[in-house]
Symmetry: C2
Subunit: 120 residues, 2 copies
């Protein structure tokens, strides 16, 4: 009776509780950020960080920062699944290289401006 009541009464579990096969409580820390219709979002975060670490990290943050924390963890987790060796540190290296290249190009262009202005 209780079992059937719970089944009828509960909203469908969030993607995290579904994967972890647990009841999705009304105050579930995952539910606001891992809706049932995006199962891969939680799957990668769970694979990389582990549900219990994510739970702990979210609990340690004020509610208004949890959405950003989840977004950055999802980004990191997806990057790690795509590239198990470098993860999103690969993106950091590549951005750093782009910055180096742009700084070189900028220095050259600025030097040329200085040179051309001499003859103005």
């Amino acid at each position: 009776m209780k079992e059937s009541g719970r089944k009828q009464g509960a909203a469908s579990p969030c993607a995290a509780c579904k994967l972890l096969r647990r009841r999705c409580a009304q105050d579930c820390v995952f539910a606001p950020y891992f809706p049932a219709d995006e199962p891969q979002k939680f799957a990668n975060v769970h694979k990389v960080f582990g549900a219990s670490n994510v739970n702990k990290m979210l609990q340690e943050l004020p509610v208004h920062q949890r959405g950003d924390a989840v977004s950055s963890m999802v980004y990191e987790a997806n990057a790690r699944v795509r590239d198990p060796v470098y993860g999103c540190v690969g993106a950091i290296s590549s951005l750093q290289q782009q910055i180096d290249a742009l700084q070189t190009q900028l220095a050259l262009a600025q030097a040329e401006v200085v040179h051309l202005r001499r003859f103005e």
Copy 2:
């Protein structure tokens, strides 16, 4: 007798096995990357990714890629401990902003070069 023999015979455990309070086997997957004298290196990786996830991720990689994988995980973990909301994704945003600013400066400098060359 056995206990004392193990204590005498074993090399000092790596930082991971020390934190996890387990015997550091000769083929320990952590030992080459987490030396006993750098306990914080493993502590942060364990806090963020969890020892069992790190173990799994390393086992799934060929040995010659594990060093790079550990370095990138250590980088990510340290960034997440420093900034629990954005982790190393904060660095990515900031590098992306630097790139945008440099591209704007470069476009201006290049436009000025084109303009000045008209009067050469």
